[in-house]
Subunit: 340 residues, 4 copies
């Protein structure tokens, strides 16, 4: 069977990683990526062999001036695709939706868009089947993905009575130098925050409530979770083992000396691969405690990369390239690891 | 009645503020403050008329070289005191305890010491009476003070079934330039954290559990609270009003545009007073939500100053200068406001 | 003689400080301040007795809703003034200029405006006389003010052959939480930077060249200066003494333990006064070195407050209330110190 | 000829990168690396096939408990080596020197040690020949390496009359979470700073003077350079071209949108390779200006990696594996690029 033709519209933090991930999947073929202006990212895309298409009003001239070859316009790219993964800035995705529909191509949107942008919101471990055969799918945001993954594990093993999470959010991605704060904590003045309902787009019956603060860091979010389970686990170690065995979790041991988000990102830099990313939920052995049915644990979420494999799985579900979530996740992760 | 003679051992972040506060109370008299080495703080202490006593091995010579007059040694200061408020660095207080006992003076310790350092742990709104007549009292730490104040309000009005708090802690005080992290989040790898049990030194029967992360800011801590109340409040506004009427709470309205810790500290700088401090628990109207019995709210805690009035109240309780917590708090706060 | 009637248009970081400073000068009278929207600053202005006038399209209604009394519109305020000190956001000042001209009032602008906004650019120690009798004056920016003050001292004593400065700039003021970067250094890609020519609006014949970087801090700028003098000073100590004797310099000694900008701002918090500001150029004894004619020194610049006394002096020059810069500076600084 | 047997003593920020670089050079063979305690770095070293030797008092037991195989002790590692690259923490290198001498092996030290630790201080572009045949060599620090590289280019082309640099230094490496400041600028209170004399260990006759400040960032240092040349270059573009043609320089163009250190590190993350490092001096086209003989330019220095290729070249010089600096640099860089 011919690989599904995938293009990536928007080549920023998420888009460039999704392109790398798509390019490494044998059952997908990367048609190209779109950019509005030249940048070092555009040069590197060309070096990696990704055809570059021009989006936006500035047109191809700035690319020519920079010596960067372009393969056509955004419309050209869409026309050659079976599916577009939309990685445009927040709320631009919704505007792009009409474009994809007119062209008769399927589309994957990111979690920055409202849930109504697509037929279904998606998490590979949570509701893979719901996206089967769909024409539009929304991959939930980084925070929601992290919570959904953890919920998938705990629901199945122990049942979840209620879940309360504090999201300690990073202020900006590393290169977003215009964003602050430099020194201070900004509570998100909406209580509960929107993340709980967003998790419920995956698990409608999950009782979850969230609050969020923004802090001056660029590396990762940290979730502080209190989960009251239905069935008491035999031990904290049993819960840790459940997480260890689930796909896309990395549980650090104390001797690894990775007790904060900077050390975790240092681990990502050390282990190598296409990029220094952590696509896994990060847990810490000594950062999880159990008292009867009350489970408390921290998890680190690398906002730049955690949704990347989910985008691949979303395409696979839409085109029914894999029978279920576990199969798709295994394929995705194996291909990504091989690329390292 | 002659004012109670109070000295402050250790003139750092807390000590210098406590000295300012004591100096403003008519029923207390400031014997002096101790320092180990000269600094601008020492010069300013002299300018404010605080006698300076020398602690530590370096002795008086460095002060003489800097032209700063000293009034004696730490032992001299203790000998002239009825009570010493120990503001030495964490765990030094315990070593000092023997000194105070030998000299036959009473002592107030800070929350950095273990609870066993004193006969009772103290919060003015929580357990004022428990400190009456005591010879040694420990004022609980900034985080514990903030939680105890809020607990005092909610317990009385609505009863607390259980309390879950995430403490988002500042990495360093503003002038502690040697401390990090610069960029990153550090989960406190002890679950639950020690703060819950510390609140229970004030309210032994309170079901409270806490987790903590450290983030790169210097200004304030923020607590993210989820409290399940016994009796459902009529409305969020009713809870806000309860906090507004309690001493040492400041509830910001949305139009005040103080929606983060930097804006709150800017408020403190603007309103003036002896120092740009926030001795009140800070709440935000739009940072509190109620769903049935489930109350969620943020509170900001200015780690440098919140325990300062509590130290004054502790002395007043020990010497029975005021009949109850509310009376003492009103006196303390009135004297501090006047000084502004 | 009746005090000169002064109003402050724009009540932000600079405006609120200028209002405080004007209110403390017996030869000036504060007509009022303008704001576009209510905030805690507006409430505090009212508490301090500053009449509040409404600027902008939102009008008085939001103030009424917040319970904050207003005394009229911006036009009303201007009509009652002899001079308006414009503290509007950068480049809004230029738009306001027509307003002032139409109303026939004089105006002081801030350094964020282009030099052409006013008849003369101003620094009290540098060119006080040039502003005498003028109808429009521009007080140069914080960085330029700091450089001009230092230049005034060194030019007079030793002559300046050439001056090379690196400006290490703060990323944002403390409450500007939307500005970054959180982690990173941003070189100002204009070489030399605009600051050198701006100093030359005060000292046209000074050979000065500057480069700038932005760093993630909120507290102060730091200038790294290399000055080649015409006449070699007898010693580094002689230069330090020249700075100590000049108005608006604070030279920290090593024993004061104020060796970084956080410690300097802690000093400002400790010494008290209306606000925790440093209106002086900050030098450090051990942060100045002399090799022949080559002088190297750091200076700290508190961007929020350093231009405040200069605004007062500018008004005094315009209305010829003081014969020369030293007299005006002495008056201004004495009145500000008394207010403490 | 058999490859030179190289071991790396100390597997921290520099050591682990040096090990990676050595492992990629065909004329060198990596004997192993030493560590004192297990960590994720130790696991990854094993995964990469680097034999691990145990240093320090804790011994092999903690490694065994963590399931990490060890190949012997530090002494074993030294015994199997022709040369040890010492990457121990600052000043520990000097203590290790005796160990190497006793074992009769050669040694490379890092710039954190005093220059007297070795026969010669080294920079590949500056004084490659001086290290030929030596038994001990010190690779100068990251800042000194960056300055020496730039000096090598400018001296040869235009001659340097005098050089004045401000070093804007990062506060901590990314995973050094215990170091601050969080918010503030710390001037280095030694004027001039030690960096100028350190560059003179490479170029004894270079007139260079430096001052330094520490700022709250983890990513890179930035040097702000003012160089008075002997011969005026024809144009700024000519100077840029000289830098572009020199090894280990990367000059960013404006369209690349890499105008700050966070964007540069993002470039490093994007281009891939063993680690997201910038071993090149980073310049910006629009961050360089020329006025007659006066050249001003910024350069970014990635403190974690810039000295890595210099360590390889140092070994090559000591064992005379390449005839001159340019040859060695070309070999090193080609091997490192291939590894990408």
């Amino acid at each position: 069977m011919a690989p599904v033709r995938v293009s990536v519209n928007g080549y920023g933090t998420i888009g460039k990683r999704v392109a790398d991930a798509v390019a490494r999947q044998p059952d997908l073929s990367l048609v190209g990526v779109s950019k509005t202006r030249p940048s070092f990212e555009a040069s590197i895309a060309i070096e990696r062999g990704y055809p570059l298409f021009v989006a936006g009003e500035a047109g191809a001239e700035p690319f020519r001036a920079a010596g960067i070859p372009v393969s056509g316009t955004l419309r050209d790219m869409i026309a050659r695709s079976d599916v577009v993964i939309d990685c445009a800035p927040e709320s631009v995705g919704r505007q792009n939706a009409a474009l994809y529909q007119q062209a008769g191509v399927r589309a994957v949107f990111q979690g920055g868009e409202a849930a109504t942008v697509a037929e279904v919101s998606f998490n590979a471990a949570g509701n893979y089947s719901a996206a089967k055969g769909k024409r539009t799918v929304r991959v939930v945001s980084c925070n929601t993905t992290g919570l959904a993954r953890a919920a998938a594990v705990l629901r199945e093993r122990y049942g979840v009575e209620e879940w309360e999470a504090t999201l300690v959010r990073r202020a900006a991605d590393p290169p977003e130098t215009q964003r602050g704060p430099v020194d201070g904590i900004l509570p998100a003045m909406r209580i509960p925050s929107h993340h709980g309902p967003d998790v419920q787009t995956i698990f409608p019956d999950l009782r979850i409530s969230t609050m969020a603060v923004v802090v001056p860091t660029t590396l990762m979010h940290v979730h502080v979770n209190h989960v009251r389970l239905v069935r008491p686990p035999p031990s904290a170690e049993a819960v840790l083992e459940a997480f260890r065995q689930a796909p896309r979790f990395r549980v650090f041991r104390p001797w690894e000396q990775a007790g904060g988000t900077p050390q975790v990102m240092e681990f990502a830099r050390d282990r190598g691969g296409r990029r220094p990313d952590m696509m896994e939920n990060v847990l810490w052995e000594d950062g999880l405690g159990l008292t009867g049915k009350d489970l408390r644990f921290f998890q680190g979420i690398h906002q730049e990369s955690i949704v990347v494999p989910e985008n691949v799985d979303a395409v696979r579900a839409m085109f029914e390239l894999a029978p279920d979530g576990p199969s798709s996740m295994a394929m995705t992760d194996r291909n990504l690891a091989r690329a390292a």
